[in-house]
Subunit: 477 residues, 2 copies
């Protein structure tokens, strides 16, 4: 039985995506062009992501702050590459308090400028370093085409900004945060990823280099999912962040930034969900287990009491469960909890109870199993949640592996990208011209460079010259 | 011994306030006019406030969402009073993506318009109601004069927006949330408050009525600290939120909104802090206890081990404590933790240990007491934290009571407001002219109306006509 409100993902992936977002009540279009309303079901996923990541950040010594949302034009212009990169997408406040402003302010597209300006006033000695700050906030980029979660004018994110006394320490921070993201994707979101450096062309405006987390969606399109940048001294020179080092000499500080966004919700959908709606890995599901009592009158009272008893046991084990006691039919409830992606549903009816069992339905495979009504419910549910988490990862990993190809010639790349898109690994000479040639093939872009590959020196897939890098390419969201 | 970086609050309260904000590293001025940087110590207080309130909201059935930050002018104009009220403070985005926009967008000063527009599409039957949504976000009001936390162009807040099938239910929600705020102020922030309805002149633009939480600062100035509004059908008529009621008739829905802001941090400072810096009630302190090990070499190792052992016990009891193992002198540490307002400091030195005791210093009274080194540290610290929480409330309550006056004549009001400002209770006829006459006295404004007073009918303090209300007045921030 298929959810009729949802188009098949194999028929029309784009429509399927929109249907799932709508059916699971994750987001709604708003009357503000290019912006969405994050509805309770969608926002709750973001809150869960925040709670996991925020704890990890803090355990690594980071502290949260809040910078202004508006950036004066003059402050933006201090670092040339950044303003060039973001000016085309800028949203500008030009009027305030009933007057045209003397200087216009950009709604932050990212906050390197504000953090750097702040750090310049706070840092004077190596003893002040490092400063490890992060903020959770909204940002604005005036995109032309938008899709819920994947690309919207306003989105929510976190941006970490750190400043260090040495390049080594700042580079270690860049890699450490990349690893935090990788771990989060694989072990919480159950999404296998590839990590590596961006090419010069694809790196963040103003960065020395950008590290990226790249994931492959169900349809073989790749999604840039989180980034971690090493800035070296670029911003510290532009904004004057100087300190007396241990040799008592004035030196420019070394910086990083790293971020991930509400786009991750889009990634979750496109990796795990199916034609019946949302599928969520238990570790990131805002609600992990629902109990549905079945029956009428006195029978219903008996099974509801049992549901509540088991529910309480799960709560004591920190499992997020609830009892659906609403006045709707079991079939209606099943459909709703399924489309909403609640990982485990426990069905308890009087007749089953008399037969000595209860039924557990898992959302990922949609299998229903009967278990002894006197089983250890905590262990049984916890095992099932663990199994779902692992199964979602395994399924995504198997698919990503099947859709990850190696190509020696452009014809091979073309064949792959048009007929069975995915990640394509090729050798590359390092020239931007060859990157642009790849883009001719259905918009294929480099995702990242894989380090230390044994085949360096073999031929570039485009020009045939000796290759400097092994690169992963993909069609991108 | 007094902190030299901080002006005495009895000498110059405004300068004292600024000094405390700076010395405790709560916020810094930014290069964005009228906006501040919330530094780690200040933002951590906000996070703590959020965690307490968010849990309370959710336990009452509210869910979090996120609406766009920008509101098209046409959408704003649908409700005349709201746009009139907020237009003078509006910040407008007029350029985006390199073009002048066809329609300008206001950076949200508040989000009644967006929520109402959204609800209009979501509500069609009484079965859809109530919808109980809240968002934590930034808002922008183009103020002319700004002060950290108290009044800044951009600030952080939560805004709850609910929609109901009956007026009774919506009014009950308005009062329920007022009570949530009152409880939060008195039992978490340790700030005694007065609650009641705003006068017509002081109510929120577009509300049927506004309930408010009013607090008195150390210097006798009052601070509007949280508000809860009943809208009736005003917005639902302007934005077309209609539903089929139980009688199957089309009816406009009933709405509320309620909010509190980062201004509460300013209130905390102005009620509890002193000439030595920040003082925080334990229930809202991001860090409640600091252990300072004292000594050198082997001695230091012994006392540090004991600090860590006790620290672990406090953690197990959910007390937020840490050991300051930094390489700085005890005196330096004491001063820093004191200015930062950490409620309890535990000092452990080898000599004291040999004498059989350790020392506890409480931030509120700055008293230091010696306790047996073998005491139940969890119970001892917990008792002290409870005592500090209660003492801060009692001190603030005693002061507020002393500064709450009753006046029969304008001369009395004048004498009070110029010589010993505070809350002044008077009878009032209900005419705006009399409210404006009060404002002539050092800007005195009505704080709120107290309900059901036995003296209704006595003379208005201004005009002498029969009074309709007992009103609390104050000089405001």
């Amino acid at each position: 039985m298929k959810n009729k409100a949802i188009t098949s993902r194999d028929e029309d992936f784009a429509q399927w995506y929109t249907d799932v977002v709508k059916a699971a009540k994750l987001a709604d279009y708003s009357n503000v062009k290019g912006c969405i309303v994050f509805e309770p079901n969608g926002y709750a996923i973001w809150e869960k992501m925040q709670s996991v990541l925020d704890k990890k950040f803090k355990m690594l010594g980071h502290q949260n702050v809040s910078m202004p949302a508006l950036i004066p034009e003059s402050l933006l212009k201090k670092e040339a590459e950044l303003i060039e990169g973001f000016a085309p997408e800028g949203a500008w406040v030009t009027e305030g308090g009933g007057k045209v402003l003397e200087e216009k302010l950009m709604f932050r597209p990212t906050s390197e400028t504000l953090f750097s300006d702040y750090y310049a006033n706070k840092v004077s000695s190596y003893k002040d370093l490092p400063l490890l700050y992060n903020q959770w906030c909204n940002v604005m980029r005036w995109e032309k085409e938008t899709r819920p979660f994947l690309r919207t004018r306003e989105f929510l994110w976190q941006e970490g900004h750190t400043v260090h006394a040495t390049a080594e320490e700042a580079e270690a921070e860049t890699l450490q945060m990349l690893e935090v993201y990788r771990d989060f994707f694989e072990n919480y979101l159950a999404i296998p990823v590839i990590t590596g450096k961006k090419t010069e062309k694809e790196k963040f405006a103003g960065a020395e280099y950008t590290c990226t987390v790249e994931a492959l969606m169900y349809n073989g399109v790749s999604l840039q999912s989180a980034t971690s940048h090493y800035f070296g001294q670029k911003f510290s020179k532009a904004y004057g962040i100087q300190f007396l080092n241990k040799e008592n000499k004035l030196e420019n500080a070394y910086q990083t930034s790293w971020g991930c966004t509400t786009r991750m919700i889009g990634g979750l959908i496109m990796v795990h969900s199916d034609d019946n709606g949302l599928v969520l890995p238990p570790k990131i599901a805002p609600r992990q287990v629902v109990f549905v009592p079945i029956g009428k009158g006195e029978d219903l009272q008996v099974v509801t009491a049992l549901c509540e008893e088991m529910n309480k046991k799960l709560h004591e084990a920190d499992i997020i469960s609830f009892v659906d006691k609403s006045d709707r039919s079991p079939g209606f409830k099943y459909a709703e909890h399924e489309v909403n992606g609640i990982p485990v549903r426990v069905e308890i009816g009087k007749r089953d109870l008399d037969g000595g069992f209860i039924t557990l339905a898992r959302r990922d495979t949609r299998e229903r199993v009967q278990v002894d009504k006197n089983c250890d419910i905590v262990a049984t549910v916890q095992n099932l949640l663990n199994d779902i988490q692992q199964n979602l990862y395994n399924t995504a990993k198997k698919r990503a592996d099947e859709k990850t190809y190696t190509a020696i010639t452009l014809d091979e790349v073309r064949d792959i990208m048009y007929n069975r898109p995915g990640f394509v690994k090729t050798m590359w000479c390092g020239d931007e011209a060859c990157e642009l040639a790849m883009k001719e093939i259905r918009g294929t872009k480099s995702r990242c460079i894989l380090e230390n590959h044994p085949h360096i020196g073999e031929k570039c897939v485009v020009c045939g010259k000796p290759a400097k890098h092994l690169v992963v390419w993909g069609i991108q969201y």
